[in-house]
């Protein structure tokens, strides 16, 4: 379920949502999904299972852990209950609160807080269907494969011919012949099934563009014994740049799935990513922030020194944001030295300097601090730092700063 497939380069981010939320969107647009209910307690799970068994007349329900990571099935986060609602309850008791470890969660796993109880289906065939923004073709790419329910990246790497890809002209939208071509490629020849697939794919494209997705993935898309086309799984990633026209997204967010430090940074308007190293970095601009991580590792890798974070304070940050950013670095227990690297453009060096001084005065500076300032108002910035009586090592260039901060950690 890892995405996007290796042969298509998708664009970044961003906001992830749960399977049950994605399926609610699918249902609204007419992509067929199994019937299901959300449960956060074993009681709710049992009630949901009983309802489903009654409503569908089917003998089984599926209990699915809702976390923002793929590979749930292999990790034990998807179980079938064939012996009624009581079994669904037992499975739910075990699953709720467990730490589910998959190839996408990291070794600590992700705590299961929500379950989706879904009707069981009589499956004839499993396929793959996905749509994403292909940045190199500057089009939405739609992909389909006869190999469903397996890791699509593996399919792309080992048997790329088994994945069909087509690109949609945004001025025209998904054309009927394109949808039919994918259907025939999947071997969906019968007239009724063909029509059902074309309708589902049309709905998927429609929701992709209207809901501002960067990725929609159905793995597997199934053909049931009754000849229905159903999205058995659903993965949707939303373009966070489009949040301004989707006020409803606020309710889709699940803060339990986010890194608390990154969440705190985002609410302060900062761009922060936690990493494993020991040098705290404060930089303006994403490119310069990445390059700063690179140069620390260049000089420090052989001596066990690496960046503890990516932090871009951006171009328009005010002093409060800089103070907040610097405090976040100061508070991190793994940070053994700090490197501030600023090339002021819109960002003025005195704003950075004032922010650093304010934060250091408030929580104290207990680790070495190396500062490299360049650009707009650099003299004023250096003067503010100079008069602060903080123990600061000034650096003349990026390389000089990186070497100084590496030495500061090693000593």
């Amino acid at each position: 379920m890892r995405s996007p497939p290796a042969h298509v380069l998708a664009c970044g981010r961003r906001m992830k949502i749960h399977e049950y939320q994605a399926k609610q969107i699918f249902a609204r647009y007419g992509v067929p999904v199994p019937r299901g209910y959300l449960a956060t307690t074993p009681d709710e799970a049992e009630t949901a299972a009983r309802k489903l068994l009654q409503e569908t007349g089917q003998g089984a329900v599926v209990v699915k852990a809702q976390i923002h990571a793929g590979g749930r099935g292999k990790g034990g986060g998807v179980k079938v209950a064939k012996r009624g609602a009581a079994e669904a309850r037992d499975l739910s008791e075990k699953m709720l609160g467990m730490r589910l470890v998959t190839h996408q969660t990291g070794p600590d796993g992700q705590k299961v807080r929500r379950l989706y109880i879904e009707q069981g289906l009589d499956i004839e065939r499993e396929m793959y269907l996905g749509a994403l923004v292909d940045r190199d073709r500057r089009r939405i790419a739609v992909m389909a494969s006869t190999e469903g329910g397996v890791d699509i990246e593996k399919v792309a790497a080992e048997t790329p011919a088994k994945i069909q890809t087509l690109h949609v002209d945004p001025a025209v939208g998904l054309a009927g012949y394109q949808a039919r071509a994918l259907a025939f490629g999947l071997g969906l020849g019968g007239k009724t099934t063909l029509a059902k697939f074309v309708k589902a794919l049309g709905a998927l494209y429609e929701l992709f563009t209207r809901e501002d997705c960067t990725l929609c993935e159905i793995n597997p898309l199934v053909l049931t014994a009754a000849g229905e086309i159903v999205a058995l799984d659903a993965k949707v990633t939303l373009d966070d740049s489009a949040e301004f026209r989707h006020p409803e997204w606020r309710s889709l967010e699940d803060v339990d799935e986010e890194d608390p430090v990154e969440l705190e940074a985002r609410s302060a308007g900062l761009n922060y990513v936690s990493l494993d190293g020991n040098v705290g970095c404060l930089v303006n601009g994403a490119g310069l922030a990445m390059a700063t991580m690179d140069i620390i590792k260049h000089f420090g890798e052989s001596r066990g020194v690496a960046p503890a974070n990516f932090l871009d304070v951006g171009g328009g940050a005010n002093q409060e944001q800089v103070t907040k950013a610097f405090k976040m670095i100061l508070k991190s227990p793994k940070v053994r030295a700090i490197f501030v690297n600023i090339f002021g453009g819109i960002m003025k060096c005195d704003v950075i300097a004032n922010g650093i001084v304010a934060a250091a005065k408030e929580i104290g500076l207990k680790v070495p601090l190396v500062v490299r300032l360049e650009g707009t108002n650099v003299e004023l910035g250096r003067k503010i730092l100079g008069e602060s009586n903080l123990a600061i090592q000034a650096a003349s260039t990026m390389a000089d700063g990186a070497q100084k901060v590496v030495s500061a950690v090693v000593v």
Partner: protein
């Protein structure tokens, strides 16, 4: 001695009455850019800073003031629309500074741009802009870069990152090396000009003698640039790729800067550029010295 912008550029600023638009319009005027008009729908008839007429539409601004380039500071909800309006008004160059335009909007913009068959060029969005350094009357700055770090000369700079461009320019200027034109093409996954478009222009420009190319992880634009350098570029190119140490799957600020599905890594891009004959700087501190070394040899 430049590409795309120079003393004949006549600029209209879209969003000139907003806070960012107003601030940077002033900075551009101060640098010497001919800012001939501004556009803010509903504010037509006003005058910006006592000298620049404001119009309701780009078409009017073009008719009345002969603008041939635009710089866009319109916030994300209206930014794609502003780009389309600039296209429709027949401008030769559109520079969009706005950060955070939805990718679905940019896919449509890109489709329209392709239909213009090269009549208009788009730089950005989410970019610092473009500058041809020079004294008043000679130089032209369209965007948000600090003008004072540049000096006129013969090195072209093209970059996906803003502040890393300033870093390269700062290094060049500190070594006494001037720039012909510096272009920030922006960090978004779908935009206008890419590296190849800029390299093509630098290759043709008699006053550009060497180029610094600054890429980052994600996408395949650097690989396409490498192919162009191998097949068509006679001038020396020094490069740097940011994000060699970024973990896969994490988005590093720019919407485009992410390693997805094991593709778009710095190692792949560096290998492609080296194989094409470009020299890749070992650290971001060595961009100017790397270019200087190959230009001398």
């Amino acid at each position: 001695m430049s590409i795309l912008v120079g003393k004949n550029t006549r600029l209209v600023v879209q969003g000139i009455t907003g806070s960012a638009g107003a601030f940077h319009a002033k900075q551009m005027i101060e640098y010497g850019t001919r800012v001939v008009s501004g556009v803010t729908p509903g504010r037509g008839g006003e005058t910006f800073e006592g000298t620049v007429p404001v119009f309701d539409t780009v078409a009017e601004a073009v008719r009345a003031t002969g603008a041939n380039a635009s710089c866009i500071f319109v916030p994300p909800p209206g930014a794609a629309d502003a780009i389309l309006e600039a296209f429709d008004a027949g401008l030769e160059l559109v520079v969009c500074i706005t950060e955070g335009i939805p990718v679905i909007d940019m896919l449509k913009v890109r489709r329209v741009l392709e239909g213009l068959s090269g009549r208009t060029r788009l730089i950005g969005p989410n970019c610092p802009g473009i500058i041809t350094p020079g004294t008043k009357g000679e130089g032209c700055k369209i965007g948000i870069m600090p003008g004072h770090i540049h000096r006129s000369g013969n090195v072209g700079v093209v970059s996906r990152s803003g502040t890393l461009t300033y870093e390269a320019v700062g290094q060049l200027t500190a070594r006494g090396i001037g720039q012909s034109t510096c272009i920030g093409i922006g960090g978004d996954p779908v935009g206008g000009m890419d590296f190849v478009d800029a390299l093509e222009l630098f290759e043709r420009d008699p006053d550009t003698h060497g180029v610094i190319l600054i890429g980052e992880i994600g996408g395949a634009a650097e690989e396409r640039a490498a192919r162009f350098i191998r097949e068509r570029m006679s001038k020396p190119v020094a490069a740097f790729i940011a994000g060699a140490t970024a973990p896969a799957g994490k988005r590093m600020g720019h919407a485009g800067a992410i390693i997805a599905g094991g593709k778009g890594t710095a190692a792949e891009k560096i290998a492609a550029l080296e194989a094409a004959g470009a020299r890749v700087a070992p650290t971001p501190s060595d961009m100017a010295s790397t270019l200087e070394a190959i230009m001398k040899s």
